[in-house]
Symmetry: D3
Subunit: 173 residues, 6 copies
């Protein structure tokens, strides 16, 4: 049965012999493409308040992380082996402090990146790399006060453009 | 009250005026330091089996991700603004396919990185960057067959060495 | 009054909430663009003569600086956070030893960079980065003989192409 | 006469045949070294006020430039051909808006970088690169409102440590 | 006579004054271009068998070298001073163990890279850099067992597209 | 029999499960280490004369290649996956035009790199990368006049320092 799946769907980053390759996208037409990705950094109540109070001053945690994320997006093809180099048209990165009241209150930094290009390949990896680098930077800026921070829910929210068309994450996706 | 917390614990990456800086570690003595970090990539049953069957051939998803993670560890100071450049003594990165049988079976790739150095700063960020880049690479290699993959639980498991001594993550940490 | 200025003219690298972003240039049409930038490195008479006499041999200061400047132009998007990656069509970098006879004779290395592309964003930053890296390299090559070298007058001389049209520096600009 | 100068003082970055090289520092003892460098970005009154008012919001020009400068310091050996790779112990970068009342009022952003290491080579180039990249970033963030900004006075203020001992810039140096 | 040759054929990477430059390709039309390059790594019989037996396990020498080569292709403009940045459409890298029976049996790893783009400049340098980095990686992975490995025959096999048209290496070329 | 070889000698860049890793060198003592590597670029008689005549002017092929090679040495850990980051103490790179009169005269550029460090790992890869990048740059600078240039004989000539002691290439090695 798995065999059948493989015939229909397969990893494009491997050729028929199983060798990794950077897939040829030369036949694809350039088109406007966007990708939106998100990540969450779960922190303690104490860390959350420290980030929040620091936000009153310039040079706060969220700003450093935001700039790191935008610069990180540009490093994607240097980090992910089979990623194509791409000319990013724009990167928007937003970090916000959130507090979710439930049985156990969750204190977190939520990160959303929107990346746009006009090229032959999508920008999912650029958006995912942007939120990951921003999340790692939040960790780095806070690790002196809390070591057990967790980065979670790095995921694609939506993409538009390209051969396979638009895609949006469903709630339970 | 927040005020009081700030007096006891504070972000070392900011000076008294709130400006970000790369903290001076020149007075710290070089010592052997290690850090172990982990990440989990949650995939569908179908993707899980595709990765598994590909693993029989050379050039499989896990190998590409493993090499990307090791190379990613070396890019840490170029990605995280306030990270010190550091001479890594060794990087070990392990990816494994796991299947957790519970109410709803979880199919995942688990990633663990162990990083060692003999320097003035810890290598937590290098270990966390290694697992993040490896996880992003798993995503990239599989995104043609599944878009709603989630990277989760990027966290420090333990660290040894340095002024603050050893630290180990507790179960509910 | 400042308020009024802000309404008319504003930093495009920030959104309405004041967060930095890489501006979306996707709607701009690709066009041929050029930028010419300059810098001056003021050295002592002794250093000036050393550079000059070295220029007779291969591997002289000006050649090393020229190559560094051309390579530096390509690093612009990795150095300047909000800069778009861009495909440079050409980079021309010229260094010359100048001696300006006035009340006090000025001994200097003058640097001019011309950068061209066919893209959606201008290449001012690439030209300015090229002359800056070349100037820093002149400093590095000469610092063993003179420490109080000054790099000055890093500026845009002219630009062509793009939405805002051509621009040329005026004498007192 | 020039001949005589060359015998006493010479560029260490060239060998006897005039070929550029990365000088061997292996025989030097590691020691604590610091370098302080500065730069000035001269802007119009209008731009100066825009930067100032933006500074009230997070993500302002000076913060982006400050982070870029710190990250730029780490890129020094990749930009300056004969620079040794070095483990920076710390980088401090300070940007401030200054207004000098004289015959003609000068509106500027002043940048100062302090870099520290415990190694075999000095960190002058790292400090100079930090202020240069920060200055270029100020330019980039403001170029939509003013094109004739000038970066000037990139210079070393002082250095400590190393074989040649401490050095401080004199007023007219 | 040399004089005459120079008039007909000349290095395009230098201007009339002999200064190096990144040639302006802005007037060239974008077209589909490919380049195929090759390299050979000559190893001992013992090393050859070790590589071969390792190939049964995941993470073998050839896979690590293949990924390094693909990533290396993307670093070409950062390594080769006058190379234009380029958007690679695809990179295919193949390593194979060969044994040539002749008077003295040759044990080797043969490497072939195929690179494609749709741009204004060719991708010869990208293909040559890919095989070189892959070859260096084979050396690195094997140097603990054999130091006198030789990398040889790095050469262009063919290129298509561009102003000068297609080109193919002849046997004795 | 192969089995037996594997027990005695093995690739240190793989662990017992065959996974690639960056070997832990933390237990090694820092010591002075050097490595000398070489490469040869075989060109046509015409190209050889063009390089030679260009050498009279500043900015010639050999100088550009020399600087590229020195800068390339610093990129080694970013190119070779399992290479440790290392603080190079010095890099010396020499290119020379050679003409070997034999049955068929060989026209070539010979490249030799000497690299030194005081660290925990050797610098063979840095020396080999330096000569490779210099050789690729010679190719790039000359490819407009000759496409069938061959880079050959990239090899280690000698190394000193480290646990395994000194090593020198034998004539037929």
């Amino acid at each position: 049965m798995i065999q059948k799946i493989q015939k229909e769907k397969d990893f494009t980053h491997f050729d028929n012999d199983g060798r990794a390759r950077m897939v040829d996208v030369g036949e694809k037409n350039p088109s406007v493409r966007t990708a939106v990705a998100a990540a969450r950094v779960i922190v303690s109540e104490e860390t959350w308040h420290l980030i929040k109070s620091g936000g009153m001053k310039k040079g706060d945690v969220l700003t450093v992380a935001q700039i790191a994320g935008i610069m990180g997006a540009k490093q994607t093809p240097n980090l992910i082996p089979m990623c194509h180099p791409i000319l990013l048209d724009g990167v928007d990165l937003h970090l916000s402090l959130v507090r979710e009241m439930s049985a156990q209150t969750i204190y977190a930094v939520d990160i959303i990146a929107t990346v746009r290009c006009s090229g032959r390949t999508g920008v999912e990896m650029e958006a995912l790399t942007a939120v990951s680098v921003a999340a790692l930077t939040v960790y780095d800026m806070c690790k002196a006060v809390q070591r057990d921070i967790v980065i979670t829910d790095i995921r694609l929210l939506e993409k538009t453009g390209g051969v396979h068309g638009d895609w949006q994450r469903t709630e339970n996706g």
